[in-house]
């Protein structure tokens, strides 16, 4: 039971919890305290030191928007953002209540009356923007993976195809999202024409930019993973005369799953990084737009609010990476021993 718990904690990267579990079960306390100090204590000390350094040095920087905010001001701004969010939600609830009451009244007076139900159109809060960003990055990431994995498998199975497209990949891979964005914007404007669009153009532009910038590691890793499969495994497939589609689904993809997941993990990391820049330029109502709007706004609170965004962006990036790593460990048959 205990070993299982420890194993799953390790699988999900929660190593600091391991000594606590061991301690609770009364296992060699001295060793466990030492372990706890190394895995939990040291990082905490480093964080505290960083916060101190930040608050001391921030106090010495004067900008046109006032003094550079330290940790306490940033925390204050965070609370401000939470309060704004709550207020906005209350407004939304009130709006719907009013609408419903109005419609009920209308229907009571005339049962045949046509009632209109309008969605609430208040401004998105910081937390709405986080979800917009996550939604956008996942759309771009999934789109990219759907292109990169099949193409990567094809490249891995066919050396000639890989030699053919490899230079293209190498040239397209390092292009900055800021360079892609104008092109993507123009193409989306030209191609994505609809009187009642399902998605806003800014969303489509941002998602496609994420796709373009983040698909390469998955593509390359998949190709290398498939190309380096143990030849005997493929020969097993040939001997039992597997159809090539089954050769791909039953042997090539499972065999290269660890490599594919490493690629996906890098891709999602890049996608998240690219997204913020894309949102700034495309004005997709996510975290990137939040930062940009605050910067343009230039109130005395702006810098603090931007720093909240920076920290949130960092934490979300970390969580995404952790999610992918855990997923990789759960799904794939063999992870490198060192990563466990």
């Amino acid at each position: 039971m205990k070993d299982k718990l420890i194993h799953s904690l390790e699988t999900f990267g929660l190593t600091p919890m391991v000594p606590i579990v061991r301690l609770a079960s009364g296992e060699n306390p001295k060793q466990q305290f030492q372990d706890l100090f190394e895995k939990l204590g040291l990082p905490l000390i480093a964080i505290v030191a960083f916060l101190l350094l930040w608050s001391v040095s921030a106090a010495n920087v004067q900008t046109s928007l006032g003094q550079l905010p330290g940790p306490s001001q940033v925390l204050e701004q965070y609370h401000g953002l939470v309060a704004e969010h709550k207020e906005e939600r209350e407004k939304e609830v009130a709006f719907y209540e009013r609408q419903e009451a109005r419609n009920a009244k209308k229907l009571a007076a005339n049962p045949d009356a046509v009632v209109k139900i309008r969605p609430y159109t208040g401004k998105p809060t910081f937390f709405n923007q986080i979800f917009t960003s996550l939604y956008t990055v996942f759309t771009g990431f999934v789109l990219g993976s759907l292109i990169a994995i099949p193409l990567g498998v094809a490249c891995g199975l066919n050396k000639r195809l890989y030699s053919a497209v490899s230079p293209l990949i190498q040239v397209l891979k390092p292009v900055s999202p800021l360079a892609w964005l104008p092109i993507v914007t123009m193409v989306v404007s030209a191609v994505y024409v609809s009187s009642d669009p399902m998605f806003s153009k800014s969303f489509v532009t941002s998602a496609i930019t994420v796709t373009l910038c983040s698909m390469w590691p998955t593509l390359i890793n998949t190709a290398i993973g498939v190309a380096s499969i143990d030849k005997d495994w493929l020969n097993v497939g040939r001997v039992i005369r597997l159809h090539w589609t089954k050769q791909v689904t039953k042997i090539a993809i499972p065999a290269s799953l660890p490599m594919i997941f490493t690629g996906l993990r890098i891709s999602l990391g890049i996608g998240w990084m690219v997204l913020i820049a894309a949102e700034m330029l495309a004005q997709n109502p996510g975290l990137g737009k939040f930062v940009w709007d605050e910067f343009q706004n230039g109130s005395s609170n702006s810098l603090g609010r931007i720093m909240v965004a920076v920290i949130v962006i960092g934490i979300i990036g970390y969580i995404l990476d952790w999610l992918m790593l855990s997923l990789q460990k759960v799904i794939s048959h063999s992870t490198p021993e060192g990563a466990r």
């Binding site: 005997d232 495994w233 097993v236 001997v239 005369r241 042997i251 065999a255 048959h333």
Partner: protein, 282 residues
Amino acid sequence: MSHYLDIDHVGIEFPTKNGPFRALQGVDLKIAKGEFISLIGHSGCGKSTVLNIVAGLYGATEGGVVLESKEVSEPGPDRAVVFQNHSLLPWLTAYQNVELAVKEVFKGKLNRSEMHEWIEHNLELVHMSHAMHKRPDEISGGMKQRVGIARALAMQPKVLLMDEPFGALDALTRAHLQDSLMEIQQELNNTVIMITHDVDEAVLLSDRIVMMTNGPAATIGEILKVELERPRNRVELADNAEYNHYRSQVLKFLYERQRNPAQTEGKKKSVKPRLVGKGEAA
């Protein structure tokens, strides 16, 4: 003797950067049904290449392989291969590894419960019933090779091809597996071609031992008929004069007439890159 499997004047050339490399030349061997053949020779002499040509994994440059009066042109389950490093798919259990083959080979011929029975029967044959739902990384090297054999047997091949099946195992495990293989052979009377490095293994298991000359342009040097009575017992045979005579014949061929090329010509590249066994001990 009826020619069940005919390896007819097979030669093969591999393209390399320095022009074609001739690995095999005029390999000619006729094998009867139910015969157990060992291919023995030094590293790099093209034993595996012969096996791969019979399997259909390589195409011969000249000559060809005829099985039951049909020419071999591609790999197929009638020539099942037991690979040296077991090559079980690590994400599947022993059962699933065999299942993958059975489902493909007996598609439309057996129903689900018959397939299930057939898979279990074959795993039982190699004494793996107790661990059939374990994955390859949970079982020992010897057990993995047993599953590899079960997978090949489950295809009901006309010819069973074994590429140094016990090469990566320790001596004790190897002996166990050889005994199992002899038992199975007694029961099923398969036609087998086995590659080996091990002189004792060759004499113990084979009806005929085919000794290959060193490459390049390797070919069959000598064929030794082993007429020891079956069932054979390794302990009894240890003092058997006939057995020791066969043994010394093979040794003489390998170490007098065909000196190891690594010793005579220094380190030379092997004919084809082969996967080195992962060297797991049982």
